[in-house]
């Protein structure tokens, strides 16, 4: 884990959200739509804004919706989301459709300054022009809020926005999504959503030192908000290899399925974003994700027997009540831990963070309960959590890398510094 510290967190905002879009791809499943009325455009825009989870970043804690001001800590400094309400002076009220499209498509603001890729324009560039128009149409219906943007706190040379021009040259290719004619319309719709407005790889992709996602393996797992967003590729152990299409639809629609429940930032993504997606769109995403290849697996060393015994005892005392003997979980209530891709993710950070701070399953209309796990940070020390997570990752046929006390210590400090 330490080896990756420099690339741990991307400039990209740590929220994946799925956005849905598009005339080009949407027209594959619905009738061709050339000139929607204003109401349809706004309604479609709301769907896309939810799908992109725009609100999550563009709303400060207890702040006015879409008025920005949410602090986003990155390894490079702190960036603040901007006001995208229609306020003419402090928001985007004076932006016309072309201004907005340029920001979404090229990462350039109305006044010509370069945006930081914390704003996911490297994904939004794939959106169709019609979809971007609808997003703007919806944002224009929001209550204008007069709230000035906060300047980012970045060191030189990143503080110079012109530096982003170089970043864009190296890491950014503007371009609308081009359908793959070899694939089905459903697959293309899924790809459009995942790689476009959904900006899934912003979290689920590995980032390089400059915060850019590895373009060759965009969904191989990556860090987001101190936790690890697992691979969405076809790995049977740590990817979606064991998930059926229905499992993916259930997970995104309700925050849970037979295998696991959404945790950490993904719980927020489900409750604010993916649960609002239509069933056909969820299905299209599932079809696309299930087409991703199974990358080669790394060798995993067996953990020390003493650590496993310590972990087993801790599991019995702290976890077994809900997650049951053998890590089977309770169907419908508490997620299983055995045979779980979430547990066996390449990096253990999500598991460690869940133990440290607890978690709540997203509450949805279909599943209103929001079952919660308490935080164990005061009860278990770093060595305990290392042994426990090592045990959980290697017991019952699970096979994932051991966890060290230092891994836990680092994460504990980070979470303490940047509590949610």
């Amino acid at each position: 884990m330490n080896a990756r510290l420099g690339t741990a967190i991307t400039l990209t905002l740590g929220f994946a959200g799925l956005c849905v879009a598009g005339a080009v791809v949407a027209s594959a499943s619905t009738s061709a739509r050339t000139s929607p009325g204003p109401h349809a455009s706004v309604a479609h825009g709301r769907y896309l804004v939810r799908a992109g989870d725009c609100m999550a970043c563009h709303t400060a804690s207890n702040g006015a919706p879409y008025a920005g001001g949410r602090a986003v800590p990155t390894p490079f400094g702190t960036i603040y989301s901007t006001n995208i309400t229609p306020d003419p002076d402090t928001g985007i009220g004076r932006w016309d459709g072309d201004d907005f499209y340029r920001a979404m498509h090229q990462g350039i603001a109305r006044d010509g300054h370069r945006l930081y890729p914390a704003f996911p324009y490297p994904w939004f560039t794939r959106l169709s022009r019609d979809d971007v128009r609808d997003i703007k149409a919806y944002l224009d219906t929001r209550a204008p809020v007069r709230q000035r943007d906060i300047a980012p706190k970045l060191p030189w040379p990143l503080s110079m926005r012109s530096a982003m021009a170089a970043w864009d040259v190296i890491y950014f290719d503007a371009g609308t999504y081009q359908a793959d004619s070899e694939k089905s319309a459903q697959w293309n719709r899924g790809a459009y959503l995942v790689r476009g407005v959904g900006h899934c790889s912003a979290c689920h992709g590995d980032k390089n030192f400059a915060g850019a996602v590895d373009a060759d393996h965009p969904l191989g797992g990556g860090f987001a908000e101190h936790v690890f967003a697992p691979a969405l590729t076809g790995g049977k152990r740590d990817g979606l290899g064991q998930w059926s299409e229905q499992d993916i639809v259930d997970y995104l629609g309700t925050g849970r399925n037979a295998i696991t429940t959404a945790a950490g930032p993904m719980a927020e993504v489900v409750s604010q974003s993916t649960r609002y997606l239509s069933k056909p769109d969820l299905r299209a995403i599932a079809v696309y994700l299930k087409s991703l290849p199974d990358p080669p697996q790394q060798d995993i060393a067996d953990a020390d027997a003493t650590v496993m015994r310590h972990g087993a005892a801790l599991y019995l005392d702290n976890c077994e009540g809900c997650h049951r003997r053998g890590g089977t979980g309770e169907t419908g209530a508490f997620p299983r831990l055995r045979d779980s891709s979430a547990i066996q993710a390449e990096q253990p950070d999500t598991l460690i963070a869940t133990i440290l701070r607890g978690d709540t399953v997203p509450a949805t209309d279909a599943d209103p309960t929001g079952l919660a796990m308490p935080a164990f940070d005061k009860r278990l020390d770093d060595g305990d959590i290392a042994a426990l997570t090592t045990y959980i990752r290697q017991a019952w046929g699970n096979h994932a890398g051991a966890v060290s006390s230092n891994d836990v210590k680092d994460l504990r400090e980070k979470l303490h510094r940047y509590p949610n």
Binding site: G321, G332, G370, P374
Partner: protein, 586 residues
């Protein structure tokens, strides 16, 4: 001058079991509902989290989950010739404060009363004659029948995910269940909890004694359960921290684990905590409630107007509010006239501690993990030669083995020092106890009224409880204890210690939080406060929930019946809201 809040359609006083049910039902019917809770908001995580709640010193010994007598208490005396004094510590019963009410800290023992319990006066007169009933006893029918309540019992049991074995489905006896229970339309939603060693022991001994044991109905989920509202519960882990604790595993039914996940998301529901309701307000005719007045956490008096008021506080608090608000005629023990405060009753309990050799591991328990017999409950046996009315169940509850308060030592064991330690060591894993849980009838001399001397923080008179066990209850309880002793005697190699309930009622040692009456329901306004739909006879837009409406108490834990009556009343309230007015002509 009190601040005045915006009016709501319905205001609920308290936010425990009955308020959660009423709120869920009435918001579904489209009206705007506000609950006012004197305590704080509480939820499974973080308040009852498994690494927090299993602290017996904090919760069971220091009683931090209950109401605080420094804020709200009552005065007590055994009889009208004594001077009542205020209770400064909790004792014989433990009301809650906080969202979820006592539904958070109950055990989950979720019974139906017997069909005869609801028509006890008619039934007793028919079988034993009018003279069988002592003159001092206010024996009353409820005005509602078991058959009318059956669908509502069913709703509450399916809400809670009750674990058990039905004994009587549609009049057909079911093997393994309680052969004496009233007919139910379908079985319990979940199979019974796994048996512990002690309940197996009891089962065998009870059969040997000639009785009919069955697993007691438990609102502790034996399996993961999704209730009809879509709320998900987890499987009970037998941790032994039910009674006096919140559940950390979403396994014990409570408002939090069965209703609130749905209710709290509704736009037409809201609640406020730390609001102590001090009055129900009425208009100048006294026939119509206009809302309530409460005191907020800053000591401000606030008026909350409402079209309808539902009292959902704990039993005696509902009665206290009626008396303070001058709604209904207060009961006068000298004349026997008046109704508010009349028919206060309780529960009479006893036990037989059993000392034997088999290892029982008592710490693997659940609040309602028990095996019981109902042969001596209600009128399941011939009372003619016995001369008393009522009965109760006998059960071995394996609620847990928390060492401070849940251990049984022989009579001759020292009470401290190394001798006590040795006795604990020798008995902790093998001793157990058989409980009896008896009905208490209502009497002219047992009642609630306003204390003439003592006042609370808000300047209002404290509620005064005048209560004692009567000869009928002692005779019944002694008989029940004798039957329990027969079971203890059938356990091989066991010695036992019989703990009868002797003498006067003492409010000091814990017994049960099954306080009933004071706002009795019934068919006659001369002997009841609310009609059969729990609607005030005097103020038709006021309803009273909970065990305060029981005319007398049966031999079971009250919550199942409280839940059924609440659903029953909710249906009536929906009719009332469409067509306001008295639902029963006085």
């Amino acid at each position: 001058m009190a601040r005045r809040e915006r009016p709501v359609d319905v205001v609920l006083v308290g936010f425990g079991w009955t308020a959660a049910i009423i709120a869920q039902e009435l918001t579904d019917a489209g009206v705007q509902v506000l609950a006012l809770e004197r305590g704080e908001f509480r939820d499974t995580v973080p308040d009852f989290a498994t690494d927090t709640i299993q602290d017996k010193l904090r919760y069971a010994v220091r009683k931090q989950i209950f109401e605080s007598p420094e804020r709200e208490t009552l005065t007590f005396r055994n009889s009208a010739d004594q001077t009542a004094l205020p209770m400064r510590h909790l004792g014989s019963f433990l009301p809650a404060a906080g969202v979820g009410g006592a539904g958070v800290h109950w055990n989950g023992q979720c019974w139906r009363f017997l069909p005869q319990d609801f028509e006890i006066r008619t039934h007793t007169e028919q079988r034993y004659g009018r003279k069988f009933i002592p003159e001092s006893m206010n024996l009353q029918d409820w005005g509602v029948t078991y058959d009318e309540l059956e669908p509502h019992y069913d709703r509450f049991e399916y809400l809670c995910g009750v674990s058990g074995i039905a004994g009587n489905i549609g009049g057909v006896r079911q093997p393994g269940g309680n052969p004496f229970e009233g007919a139910r339309k379908r079985g319990y939603p979940l199979p019974p909890l796994k048996r512990s060693a002690s309940t197996v022991l009891f089962d065998k001994a009870a059969r040997e004694a000639g009785f009919d044991p069955f697993p007691c109905p438990a609102a502790n989920a034996s399996k993961p359960y999704r209730n009809p509202l879509g709320v998900q519960m987890g499987q009970c882990t037998y941790c032994g921290y039910c009674e006096w604790f919140g559940c950390g595993n979403y396994s014990k039914a409570s408002p939090q684990t069965t209703i609130l996940p749905v209710l709290l998301k509704k736009d037409n529901f809201s609640y406020r905590t730390r609001c102590n309701v001090t009055r129900v307000n009425t208009d100048n005719t006294g026939k119509r409630a206009t809302g309530v007045t409460y005191v907020d956490v800053d000591g401000n008096e606030v008026e909350q107007p409402a079209g309808m008021v539902v009292l959902c506080a704990f039993a005696q608090h509902n009665v206290h509010l009626l008396l303070l608000s001058k709604i209904g005629t207060p009961y006068d023990p000298t004349t026997g006239r008046g109704v508010v405060g009349r028919n206060y009753a309780y529960q009479i309990t006893s036990s037989v501690d059993v000392f034997q050799k088999e290892i029982l591991n008592p710490f693997m328990g659940a609040g309602a993990l028990g095996q019981g017999v109902d042969n001596f409950n209600g009128d399941n046996f011939d009372h003619g030669p016995l001369g008393f009315i009522g009965g109760g169940y006998i059960a071995l509850w394996n609620t847990g083995g928390r060492p401070i308060l849940q251990h049984y030592l022989p009579e001759d064991a020292p009470t401290w020092g190394s001798g006590w330690k040795k006795a604990m060591h020798d008995n902790y894993l093998t001793a157990t106890s058989i409980a009896t849980h008896g009905s208490v009838m209502s009497y002219r001399s047992n009642y609630l009224d306003l204390d003439p001397a003592w006042r609370d923080d808000y300047g209002s008179p404290l509620l005064r409880l005048t209560f004692d066990f009567q000869p009928n209850e002692h005779a019944m309880s002694d008989y029940l204890t004798d039957q329990a002793t027969k079971i203890a005697q059938a356990i091989p190699g066991a010695t036992h210690h019989v703990k009868k309930r002797d003498g006067h009622y003492s409010i000091v040692p814990y017994q049960t939080t099954h306080n009933t009456g004071g706002a009795a329901m019934g068919a006659d306004p001369a002997t009841s406060v609310v009609n059969r739909y729990l609607q005030s006879w005097d103020v038709p837009n006021l309803f009273v929930m909970g065990a305060s409406v029981f005319p007398q108490n049966a031999g079971y834990n009250p919550t199942g019946t409280v839940g059924a009556l609440t659903y029953w009343a909710a249906e009536a309230m929906k009719r009332y809201l469409k067509n306001p007015g008295p639902l029963v002509a006085a």
